[in-house]
């Protein structure tokens, strides 16, 4: 019983971790290469989920929903980059925070206006609605599918970054963007590409979490906070760091939510313990970040600048 519960929570943690990775991979590059604070990344995730839910309701096909979410997220990334972000790269962080804050207000209200304030339902595709058995533990197939997709995305990112020419330019850009553009690389195009890649990954994350979370206005921001914690822990600009940090944060958060209420129940009233669990779990991730920052201000896997 305890072992199977532990395994299930481990898988849940992995599942949250890979979702966080899909969101932080694009964002950490935007932070690292363009030195741009993009608070609106959660909006791309939210819009991705809405695009997927709408496409699924219209077509009934999960594959169509996936295509729409990825393309929609990527397109949104390009539009935001071209219309607004590219004008703010040279400005200080405060301006970027404010401008993207304005975007968040806009997108959340836009979602409320178009789709209404109540959550939009998204069903699990029938082919993935069963369960799988892993080491004697039954686990929902869809959640297992999320883990697979997330790991695939991670492998894809790794291949892209370490094995392709574009990836080489991205790596070079995160170390010294001025030098890269001085060597004749169209850095504007590269930036737009990274933004749309981040948007597409956010779209995938929105699509995958649609059936297990509620698709509603403002759904991006609680996740965004976790994603930022991931990026700070992993080291700004580091995809590899983002991957490990995402898994760590996912596991810590899930373990805190699952096991802390049980622990607390030994000491305090059951209902209070049940309510305090999630809060302490979210505090745990913040405390983890604070510890990492206090010991290593540049994160666990810093990108070497210079």
């Amino acid at each position: 019983m305890t072992l199977s519960l532990f395994l299930i929570q481990l898988l849940n943690g992995l599942q949250l971790g890979v979702l966080l990775f899909m969101l932080s991979a694009g964002l950490t590059l935007v932070f690292g290469i363009m030195n741009f604070v993009n608070l609106a990344h959660g909006c791309m995730y939210m819009m991705g989920a809405y695009f997927a839910a709408t496409a699924l309701a219209a077509s009934g096909s999960f594959i169509v929903a996936a295509v729409v979410a990825v393309l929609g997220g990527g397109l949104l990334g390009i539009v935001i980059e071209r219309l607004m972000a590219q004008h703010l790269y040279m400005r200080d962080h405060l301006d970027q925070v404010l401008a993207t804050f304005g975007l968040i207000l806009f997108f959340n209200e836009l979602a409320r206006w178009i789709w209404g304030a109540s959550p939009v339902f998204m069903s699990v595709p029938p082919a993935l609605s069963g369960t799988v058995s892993i080491l004697g533990v039954t686990y929902p197939m869809y959640r297992f599918f999320i883990i697979l997709v997330g790991l695939l995305c991670a492998v894809g990112c790794w291949l892209l970054i370490s094995r392709t020419r574009v990836g080489m330019l991205i790596r070079a850009g995160s170390v010294n963007p001025t030098m890269v553009s001085a060597l004749g690389v169209n850095i504007g195009l590269l930036n737009a590409l990274i933004f749309s890649l981040g948007g597409a990954l956010a779209g995938v994350a929105g699509l995958m979490s649609g059936p297990i979370l509620s698709v509603q206005p403002g759904m991006g921001e609680p996740v965004l906070i976790l994603v930022m914690i991931v990026i700070v822990i992993g080291g700004i600009g580091s995809i590899q760091g983002a991957f490990y940090a995402a898994l760590m944060v996912g596991l810590i958060d899930t373990a805190g939510r699952a096991f802390l209420p049980m622990l607390l129940r030994e000491f305090i009233d059951r209902s209070i313990a049940q309510a305090a669990g999630p809060a302490i779990a979210s505090m745990l991730t913040c405390i983890f970040m604070a510890t990492v920052l206090a010991l290593r201000p540049r994160g666990l896997f810093p990108v070497k600048n210079g």
Partner: protein, 314 residues
């Protein structure tokens, strides 16, 4: 940066106008005006406190609503246990904001840039979740406050008393800031914003200066929270939400960062805009969001900077 005489005259005029608003509202029978302007003054107080670290210290704190919330909950939780002694509530507000500010500031001020923005945001969200999870104190729904703060000779249950209390605090902080920016403390703080390495090599313990400013800003924001809980008669985790932190930054930047009068003017303009948009459509953030983007992309020095253009260098 010293304010030009024109901005000073504008500020004094604005304060004089605000001082007479309750009389006018009573005469014209418009109690809404008092409530609305009380809200403006309270948020102006919070924005003024944020400007100490944001404008003068150059520290982009994205978690300032945390202290507004701590102040509000100091009133709410004590009132929940039938304690309406204002002095006690004030003590709890100041103590909680100072302790939390000192601890979180000590950790977050070690980082700079993007990390600082995110760590302050994360700390604020941490307390947001904490208050959401306190189900015995209303959780997500918050606490309604039936007993307003009673300071003996001042009772914040009366709207006009509350208005003048907020007004007095805003005026006091404005006066203090005018002096602070020319005092050694303010000069060191501004020096840290411009070139911290240089201040360090001159022998200033910059972390200590920044931390003092941070804690001070937290405590003043806590006072705003105390007043705000009395104004709304209610406190909830929503007061700690990151959107409030964002709005506070907008207020400061809109008015003009690093200027004394900026936050007050920025708050007034933003809240009036919000009210007008709310009266027009319930989907007002759809317009306000792009407006903020537009202001950021075009007007870089805020409204006060616009008034002062050509008069002094930034």
């Amino acid at each position: 940066m010293t304010a030009s005489p024109m901005v000073n005259r504008l500020l004094i005029g604005l304060l004089a106008l605000l001082a007479f608003v309750p009389l006018y509202a009573q005469w014209a029978g418009e109690p809404f005006l008092i409530t609305f302007l009380s809200r403006v003054l309270i948020f102006a107080l919070a924005a003024l406190s944020l400007n100490i670290i944001l404008g003068f210290g150059g520290l982009v704190s994205f978690g300032h609503a945390l202290y507004l919330g701590l102040g509000a909950y100091s009133v709410g939780l004590l009132a929940h246990y039938q304690i309406d002694n204002g002095w006690l509530q004030l003590l709890v507000t100041v103590a909680s904001c100072a302790v939390v500010g000192l601890l979180t500031g000590w950790v977050s001020l070690r980082t700079t840039g993007i990390s600082f923005i995110m760590i302050t945001l994360a700390f604020a969200q941490m307390f947001y979740y904490l208050f959401v999870s306190l189900k015995q104190y209303g959780g997500d729904d918050g606490l309604s406050i039936s007993l307003k703060s009673d300071f003996g000779f001042i009772h914040l249950g009366s709207p006009i008393t509350l208005y003048y209390a907020a007004f007095a605090l805003v005026a006091l902080v404005l006066w203090w800031k005018q002096r602070m920016i020319q005092a050694p403390f303010g000069l060191v703080l501004q020096g840290c914003r411009m070139n911290e390495a240089r201040m360090k090599s001159l022998g200033f313990p910059t972390l200590r200066y920044k931390l003092s400013a941070y804690v001070l800003a937290c405590v003043i924001a806590g006072l705003a929270g105390l007043l705000y809980a009395n104004l709304t008669g209610y406190t909830s985790p929503a007061y700690l939400n990151w959107t409030i932190s964002g709005e506070l930054i907008v207020m400061v930047v809109l008015g003009g960062m690093g200027t004394v009068a900026g936050p007050l003017i920025g708050t007034l303009v933003l809240l009036v805009c919000e009210e007008l948009l709310k009266a027009w459509t319930s989907h007002w953030p759809i317009i306000l969001g792009p407006l903020i983007v537009l202001v950021v992309m075009t007007a870089r020095r805020g409204l006060v900077g616009y008034l002062m253009r050509g008069k002094s260098s930034p």
